[in-house]
């Protein structure tokens, strides 16, 4: 029988209340709990006091607001998967949410919880890094905005400090963008062996204006393939570009051998999944642009 570590419990009645509680020593956010509670059972986490934010509906909104897709940190994975606006603007989000854990876990696990858990094998970090999203971190003195690419300090570690709370993720909305996420897992609901997210923005001339490539579970710094992104910028979105970018991504990531596979297999996956994600992102970018007028 696995019993969570001894803990006290407080329920936050408002965001301000949550922030006040979180500024006290050894207080920790409890949202979906689907990472934290298992870690408490294993004594990998032993917080003194849990601050339950599940009642704070204002943190669970998903909406387009001007040129930004705003995803509340408390939005459940299932809510994001059900969000038509998210799927329309960033199909990469729906691709990934279909393969995050399983349908029951997705009903309770939260977007913010996934990012804050900062597990190297977690899917949304690469998705939002590829999309060059921004994390809005709320504190008692106000908000600060941190690019998702600077949000993680390392495995299980983020820039969020005492007295702070991840409030939402803001994803910029551009014209001519297509995106996709490709994951290989051993079975339904498992962590990735490797996964790749691609976001392509095509210009009027159909060349790649901006490329985002997120890598999951392969030790990529800040979850991105920066060298491959640099290579793609300004090139045509064709098979040759994709193959060369894929080779660059496979060389620059740093997978480690574990029970999910050896290093060379993971590099092979990075290359192949990069090609597939870029291909699908380009198709979607073209479809969104519509036929020439």
């Amino acid at each position: 029988m696995q019993v969570p570590s001894y803990v006290e419990y407080e329920r936050a009645s408002s965001v301000e209340h949550a922030l006040a509680l979180l500024s006290r020593p050894d207080h920790r956010v409890l949202a979906g709990g689907h990472s934290l509670i298992p870690m408490m059972k294993l004594r990998l986490a032993q917080p003194g006091v849990l601050v339950d934010i599940n009642g704070l509906a204002e943190l669970a909104q998903i909406r387009k607001d001007g040129g930004v897709l705003r995803i509340g940190a408390l939005a459940r994975h299932a809510d994001l998967l059900d969000s038509a606006v998210a799927g329309e603007l960033y199909p990469i989000v729906h691709d990934a949410e279909r393969v995050v854990a399983d349908p029951i876990v997705r009903l309770w696990g939260t977007v913010g919880g996934s990012l804050c858990q900062a597990d190297p094998s977690e899917d949304l970090s690469a998705v939002f890094a590829a999309a060059r999203a921004t994390a809005v971190i709320r504190g008692q003195d106000g908000d600060r905005e941190i690019p998702v690419r600077e949000f993680h300090l390392g495995p299980y570690e983020t820039v969020i400090g005492p007295g702070e709370l991840l409030a939402e993720v803001r994803v910029p909305v551009h014209r001519g963008v297509g995106s996709a996420y490709e994951k290989v897992a051993r079975r339904v609901g498992d962590w990735s062996v490797a996964a790749v997210g691609a976001v392509l923005r095509l210009g009027q001339d159909q060349a790649i204006e901006e490329a985002g490539l997120g890598l999951t579970a392969v030790g990529a710094e800040h979850f991105v393939a920066a060298e491959a992104e640099d290579f793609l910028r300004g090139r045509a979105p064709d098979e040759e570009s994709f193959a060369r970018a894929a080779a660059i991504a496979a060389v620059h990531c740093r997978p480690v051998a574990d029970q999910r596979g050896p290093e060379d297999y993971k590099r092979h996956l990075v290359a192949e999944l990069t090609i597939r994600a870029l291909r699908r992102a380009a198709e979607r970018a073209a479809a969104r642009a519509g036929p020439p007028r």
Binding site: Q2, Y9, A101, I104, G189
Partner: protein, 162 residues
């Protein structure tokens, strides 16, 4: 330190003093004596502990009972009412949807939720819905058939969502 929770389970409010670290599955089984929900893998993988929390299925081994204060929970005991089985339960009888029966309560709670949202699910949709749950008898074929049977015989379903 203990805390007071008041939670509505299957339409009845229960108040108990509990430790904050008590898991919902143990609250239901040990505090309330509702042993229909099974305690299985303890790692949110197997789904035999699935109950509804505020009308959404959840793996009760991964929720603190404290989190349910003021909320409502529905367990497998609530499927049958006044001697009348839910079509999902009848489907499991008709199609031999259980062998050892351990995964069954969780499977049935997920199936009822699926059918409330999608009264005529395709086989693939049923398989997707139960993909976070494990039947170690590997009786998935008959579980899927049982849910289809329930979809095809909704007549005496009362539509009573919590």
């Amino acid at each position: 330190m203990s805390m007071r929770v008041a939670v509505t389970v299957n339409g009845t409010e229960f108040a108990r003093d509990i430790e904050p670290r008590l898991l919902l599955i143990h609250f239901l089984r040990d505090e309330l004596g509702l042993t229909g929900s099974h305690w299985g893998c303890d790692t949110s993988n197997c789904g035999s502990c699935v109950v509804w929390l505020d009308a959404r299925p959840v793996k009760a081994c991964t929720v603190l009972a404290a989190m349910t204060d003021g909320r409502s929970v529905r367990t497998v005991e609530d499927l049958e009412r006044d001697g009348q089985l839910d079509p999902v339960q009848q489907g499991f009888i008709e199609c031999h949807g259980l062998q050892c029966g351990f995964c069954t309560p969780g499977m049935m709670m997920t199936a009822r939720w699926l059918l409330d949202r999608n009264p005529d699910p395709a086989e693939a949709e049923i398989r997707e819905a139960i993909s976070g749950q494990i039947c170690r008898c590997t009786g998935y074929e008959n579980i899927v058939r049982s849910v289809r049977w329930a979809a095809e015989h909704p007549a005496h379903h009362r539509g009573d969502n919590l």
